[in-house]
Assembly symmetry: C2
Homo-oligomer: 415 residues x 2
């Protein structure tokens, strides 16, 4: 066995956004939630993590690079994932190259990990969900672990709770589970991404000066101090989970939108009921909600659902392309870009929605009429950093094209 | 009995701010709440309503002027108050002038009402609470009704729920009551205004472009749609009421502040849990909360409590004058006035707090150091319209000095 070989696997994993929210852990160490949650997986074409994992007898220690920069793997969350996958590693053989790794070798071999997000980090777009899902998925493939994606989700969960929902495409349920070791707290697919493919998702990345409470800290404080959270988790969410699954299976957008908006608002309500209170939404978030609510009411049936995670960004789910194009017109009316911003860098992702909206350049944005459902509509230039147009998407995949690997096949170091 | 006489009464009634919130009616018509609430009465020197009520056989109909402008009395809320007080009217005699009104005459006699707020209207400062309390109190005196202030509070309640708490000074509890006709849903004094006279109250009137949901509409929608409200009303508030009464009686500021802040936040949480969600606080409100929370935590014991009603204005209750002066320094650091505003019209009410804070003019405001508990503190010029410094105050009084009457003793019309 030559000491110079490197074996690599590259995977791509989507991010996800919860439509029934996860907020509050019943076990901090194992990351076990106080209620079930349901998410929609976002198209990896627009938001995903790519991770290459490599093993070589020449590696002296486990190392990781995130977006090109080396980071420490000493944190408990990374160690949990590495330990759990190593425990499930099996024999690996590359006959062509004459390499054989036996099950017990994995305990001694070190790995290199390189991870890259195709979307701006630190924009509050759940990069840790995609990141830990991708890490676990890629390591499992490298180490030939036989676990299915649900079983892997229970490992990804120990990196970042919501990561477990990124192991599948379409709509995904994270079952809170019952047993103490957390082995039944895992994700299952509700429907795949083809089931409801009319949906269009527009994300408004909202400018913010505020430093936000991390979701780990925030949910701990909510569990400790909110007098409303337990009532939400025990009495309200279980019913909503059943209703949400029904709505998704029946593609009942009115019910889906009602539940999605109500649950986002209730999550932010329990944040506000925390001591000290946590405010993730700001005035811009409130204005986006008001824009959607007024439009939905003026039409009579919901056109768009909104949901907000632990930050001010809005995730807007439109019933179909037509609703999405109208929504984009309204959003660009209220939130035109700063004058030094080009349209091309202001609306990212699936730009065909812009075309559907009849908007080709900034002059078209300037000329947009105020939404008829609102009198005296002001414009809030610069309050949104940019928009991303996307849709529900697929789960993790392996990338076989070696050119997409983030590590060099010779050195196992970042390219 | 000469047909030209006018008999008048002038009263002054304070406004109040709830520290355990009233939000949600169990009976819309009688204005019966879903839970008890507790408020502090504000010093009428800074915030009050003055109302003159007059009766004369020459009046052809009931009429009312608010801040000098005639308004309609046809609304159910005014009619409730007029009807209920008329039903309790007794004989009135002015021996000097030889005027006698017998109990049954009141059914046929008409009244003129003039009311004036000594603070800006439409600033979200609970003018309707002081207004209805003053109307009922003045009418009761005019008509020689024998009811005590608690009994009168049950009538004022039918004008505006929170008005019932303006019939007393100090700290006041509105007992939700049990009986169907609402007769036991009334206010009682917890302690008078002398019991805890160290407290200083600073109100930040926050600039806002947003049109707010009226509290009547807002609480109806919360009752109809929030899944958290009933839990709050039935399980949480009853315990808080007991704890709050204890805290007030023992002048336990730490407990008082904790309960006040938590209950304000929970009220806004159930507003957010409403469909569509109601946002009364804005980014400025959030920043004021953050300023207070960080300061309280840095000191280790609460210096200031905050509470917000159905709007973005902050009511800040400081433990004592020293804490109030420090608070004012911090507030003026974060929220200096616009350059065209004079300090004298920016800090209203009890200006001695300004003096305690060592601030004499705008240069002193400019020179304020950033609060040490916050790094990188930005300043938000113009985000607060003005501050009012005040304190807990007394209940309704009759003004015997005729020069303070708002109606002419000859014509019964506004002076």
């Amino acid at each position: 066995m030559a000491e110079s070989w490197v074996i690599m696997v590259t995977a791509q994993t989507p991010t996800n956004i919860a439509v029934i929210k996860y907020w509050g852990k019943r076990d901090e160490k194992l990351i076990l939630p106080v209620n079930d949650s349901i998410s929609v997986t976002l198209d990896p074409a627009h938001l995903c993590t790519t991770t290459t994992v490599a093993v070589s007898p020449s590696f002296a220690q486990d190392r990781m690079w995130l977006n090109g920069k080396e980071i420490s793997l000493s944190g408990g969350r990374y160690q949990n994932c590495l330990r759990e996958i190593r425990a499930r590693a099996c024999d690996v053989e590359d006959k062509e190259r004459g390499i054989k790794i036996s099950k017990k070798d994995w305990e001694k071999l070190h790995v290199h990990i390189a991870s890259y997000n195709n979307f701006p980090t630190a924009a509050g777009l759940a990069s840790s969900a995609a990141g830990f899902a991708c890490l676990v998925f890629a390591l499992a493939k490298l180490m030939n672990a036989k676990e299915d994606n649900s079983e892997l989700s229970a490992i990804a969960r120990q990196g970042s709770g919501s990561a477990c929902r990124s192991l599948f495409g379409g709509f995904v349920k994270w079952k809170m589970g019952k047993v103490e070791d957390g082995s039944d707290s895992l994700a299952v697919q509700v429907v795949d991404e083809k089931h409801w493919d009319d949906l269009v998702i527009i994300i408004a990345v909202v400018s913010s000066r505020q430093k936000e409470t991390s979701s780990t800290t925030g949910m701990r404080e909510t569990v400790e101090t909110s007098l409303l959270l337990q009532h939400r988790a025990k009495e309200i969410v279980p019913k909503r989970i059943v209703q949400m699954e029904e709505s998704i299976k029946n593609r009942n957008f009115a019910s889906f939108a009602h539940l999605t908006c109500a649950d986002s608002n209730q999550f932010h309500a329990v944040c506000m009921d925390t001591c000290p209170p946590i405010f993730y939404m700001n005035d811009t978030s409130h204005r986006i909600i008001s824009c959607v609510e007024k439009w939905n009411r003026s039409v009579g049936t919901p056109q768009v659902a909104y949901t907000f995670d632990a930050g001010p960004n809005a995730v807007l789910i439109a019933h179909n392309r037509k609703a999405a194009a109208q929504l984009l017109q309204k959003l660009l009316f209220y939130f035109p870009p700063n004058s030094d911003t080009e349209l091309n860098s202001y609306v990212l992702g699936d730009k065909s929605i812009l075309k559907d909206a009849g908007i080709e350049d900034l002059k078209d944005v300037e000329a947009l009429p105020p939404p008829p459902e609102i009198k005296d509509a002001p414009r809030y230039k610069g309050d949104v950093s940019y928009f991303i147009c996307t849709r529900p998407g697929r789960g993790p995949v392996l990338l076989s094209d070696e050119s997409q690997a983030l590590l060099s096949p010779e050195t196992g170091l970042p390219k």
